[in-house]
Symmetry: C2
Subunit: 486 residues, 2 copies
């Protein structure tokens, strides 16, 4: 028994270098390599811990691009066949997923949906999407199965209005570890997303008809959710540091801000401005709602701790979501409230009932407790950082038309127009021109309701593999050139 694995271990390299991929096949090269590599890992034994060749070496051997290899490696990391060790390469995982379950159809072979999704297609550059192909579906299925095979009776009884208690505890631990925010699980309310968070705010935590300052540019859905909940959004143009408390009109009950990473420009609010805002809130007895949606994906430097942590959740509420960190399919978000507001939120929910499905909650709780969530975030951070760098490189041919520069965090780039493109076109015209080419960049100005909005292009990269980004940039560049010269 011991010999066969050893044998496979030494044969693995030869088998790998001997793979033949079919050029010009309908199946992309990276998908062919993923499939072949998965098949080797499934059939050969005793490979656990074996180091894979560097992507450059394997790319040379197979006469494919290095990107083909990294894409295949990333996919198999996401599926649990491979792992990485910081700064030391890619290895065969200790516990291969195929040993527990039959190999699935490759995730990238997408069956056609039962009917066209009326929500629209999912087009390159569309911002704010996690890559479905990187969703850790095997782990997720395992956590779901564990949670529901022999469910705790409390899951099926009268639900806790604030959500499944172990999930609230896991969120509290996550915020302490990743966002520098200390809170008690009793302060965490699991929601069905931002709409429910604002429903609680408007229905229980703010005076009727209260007005909240919102950033402009900003997230349109947020304004709509506020209006629906009886809150009046008051858009205020941000400056380079975000919302300026000196410019806030009187009569506001508070403000909704994205201090860690302004949506959609990506700017972080400096400490001095944060302190000024908290001071403003203190003097006006106002509430700050901190919307923190993807700042776990930070690629350079230290992440700025949550503003709510700085304030100790006294005049701040913290709004989070798993839509960008894991998948919008979960439809799970949360709201962390100051302790004195717990009772009011509870009374409100006693009438409306809790909205978030209990089905994902115990699985998400154990996913977080087990460390699988943190591992997933670190993986995504690495992959997204590479995708961002890749997109910037792929856009180099139009560096005279777009102000290219790395972003320290996030899932999309916000690029100001430059040179002839800034002179002869505008962001909405560019977005409109890209649509027929099957691309979905967003106009920064479309996120404003105030006059004279800033111009720029939002290019989502996190949701797309490098091959897709290469192709999208190749399609996009001549289009920009034409608009700049036409």
């Amino acid at each position: 028994m011991a010999n066969i694995p050893q044998n496979d271990r030494s044969n693995f390299g030869a088998a790998l270098f001997g793979l033949s991929l079919e050029r010009g096949s309908a199946q992309p090269m990276h998908a062919q390599l993923t499939e072949a590599l998965r098949a080797l890992l499934t059939r050969m034994q005793g490979l656990a811990g074996l180091r894979l060749p560097a992507s450059r070496a394997l790319a040379e051997e197979l006469s494919v691009s290095r990107m083909t290899v990294t894409t295949a490696y990333d996919q198999l990391i996401a599926e649990g066949y491979l792992t990485t060790r910081q700064g030391s390469g890619t290895y065969v995982a200790d516990h291969l997923p195929h040993l527990a379950r039959p190999a699935p159809a490759p995730a990238r072979r997408r069956p056609p949906p039962a009917e066209p999704a009326p929500g629209g297609d999912w087009l390159p550059f569309q911002p704010g999407l996690a890559d479905p192909a990187l969703f850790p579906h095997r782990l997720w299925a395992r956590h779901l199965d564990r949670a529901w095979r022999a469910p705790q009776a409390a899951l099926l009884g009268r639900p806790d209005l604030f959500g499944w208690p172990p999930l609230r505890a896991a969120i509290s631990a996550h915020l302490a570890a990743w966002r520098g925010l200390d809170c008690d699980p009793a302060q965490v309310i699991v929601t069905g997303g931002a709409w429910e968070a604002f429903d609680i705010l408007g229905g229980a935590l703010l005076p009727p008809g209260a007005a909240l300052a919102v950033e402009d540019p900003g997230w349109a859905t947020l304004r709509q959710a506020m209006t629906r909940a009886g809150i009046r959004p008051q858009p205020l143009r941000i400056d380079a540091d975000g919302l300026n408390p000196g410019a806030l009109p009187a009569g506001l009950a508070g403000a909704v801000i994205t201090p860690s990473r302004h949506f959609p420009t990506g700017r972080a609010m400096p400490l001095a401005r944060r302190l000024a805002l908290l001071d403003w809130a203190e003097r006006h007895e106002a509430l700050i709602i901190e919307d923190d949606y993807d700042s776990e994906f930070r690629y350079q430097g230290q992440p700025l701790p949550a503003l709510s942590g700085l304030d100790g959740l006294r005049r701040t509420l913290y709004m989070g979501s798993f839509s960008k960190l894991l998948s919008p399919a979960l439809r799970i978000g949360y709201l962390v409230v100051p302790a004195p507001l717990i009772a009011a939120a509870h009374d409100h929910l006693a009438v409306t009932g809790a909205r978030a499905s209990l089905v994902p909650q115990p699985a998400l709780a154990s996913f977080m407790e087990s460390g699988d969530f943190a591992t997933h975030l670190r993986r995504m951070r690495r992959i997204y950082a590479r995708r961002q760098a890749h997109l910037l490189r792929a856009l180099a041919p139009v560096q005279d038309l777009l102000t290219l520069g790395p972003d320290a965090s996030g899932m999309h780039l916000c690029l100001p127009l430059a040179g002839a493109l800034a002179d002869r076109s505008d962001d909405r015209a560019i977005a409109a021109a890209a649509a027929p080419a099957g691309l979905s960049p967003r106009a920064l100005s479309s996120h404003s309701v105030l006059p004279d909005p800033p111009q720029g292009l939002l290019l989502g990269y996190a949701g797309f593999d490098e091959a897709t980004l290469t192709q999208a940039a190749a399609d996009f560049s001549p289009l920009l050139r034409r608009l700049a010269t036409g």
Copy 2:
């Protein structure tokens, strides 16, 4: 190999009759029997299809009550170890769940929740609850695992605003089979529950500030959800046939009714009244919203088809939910709309986004498609019918104080007060007096907002096993006697 099963088959009866249960143990007799029987089924081989002794015979052999045996049988049916064949007894299932998975902790040993549920305790007689112990958790876990182990990519991409298409198709098929309602899956909108259904109604399908008649007595949450969505509820006292179109004031945009089983009295609306209501809607260009929440649980006679089916979904919308049929933990409901309203609902959801979590949806779809859901409903129907009959028998000592009578459907009884109890007390006083005894009957009058409400007691039975109902009735009866004589 063939001999051992045969051997086990013939030994099974002796093993069963030889079980020894421990009287006075902290574990109830039925739980002990469930556990012992599960252990036998797990250890012995080749038992598939074997008929179990009749509950009366096994009860005599073990010197336990027949109820102890039926409770254990029901639990193991719910877990998939046993099955029933119409009118011919209980059998060992063809595919035992333990062959696929390790035996779970018995469902009835409930670990204490992490903290007291602020939603309140779950007390006997509380209406409207499905029994968590009968939730088909193994099947559910299997469907969840299957759906998420290798998820269709569409699940993780941009969601269909109306919900997961296969679930919408399954709901459409269910409505045709169980509710006599023909609709196209394109008309089905999966929601996060009644609040979202009214949000769509108020936001997109009704004129702003529209008024809808609602039944009095009726469901308070419904009035609150309507108000929140900008709809004005106009309560109207029902007569013996439900909402009377002749008594409806002018200026209504429509009415929300529970024709199959009025909530909370349980009355069904006769055909003549249904036709009169549809005629009223036609003449006033009004919409009827049919709220159909548990009429799958019908114990006598033919179920009345949905009103919406009678109308062909022309002026009717149909609102359904899985909260009572499966579990409120799913937080999944649906709204079926007339074809001409699809576009408006879609435009609304394009702004608000879909709210229902995608996590349960593919599992629920395959649960329905596979027939497991229909099997579950039939099982629950049988168990709930027995529980209702059991509760009525257990209340016989107070038949002079409550008007006892079987209900053809539902999950709770609505019992008018009688005799001295009607003279000397009222339903709210009774409900208040029952609370310290750990019982949660509801006052019928608490479901009214109009003056001079009808009096009665709502006693939930579906969510409680027969032992619990026996004890609850034994605790409740002297309390009623005291109120009637005090």
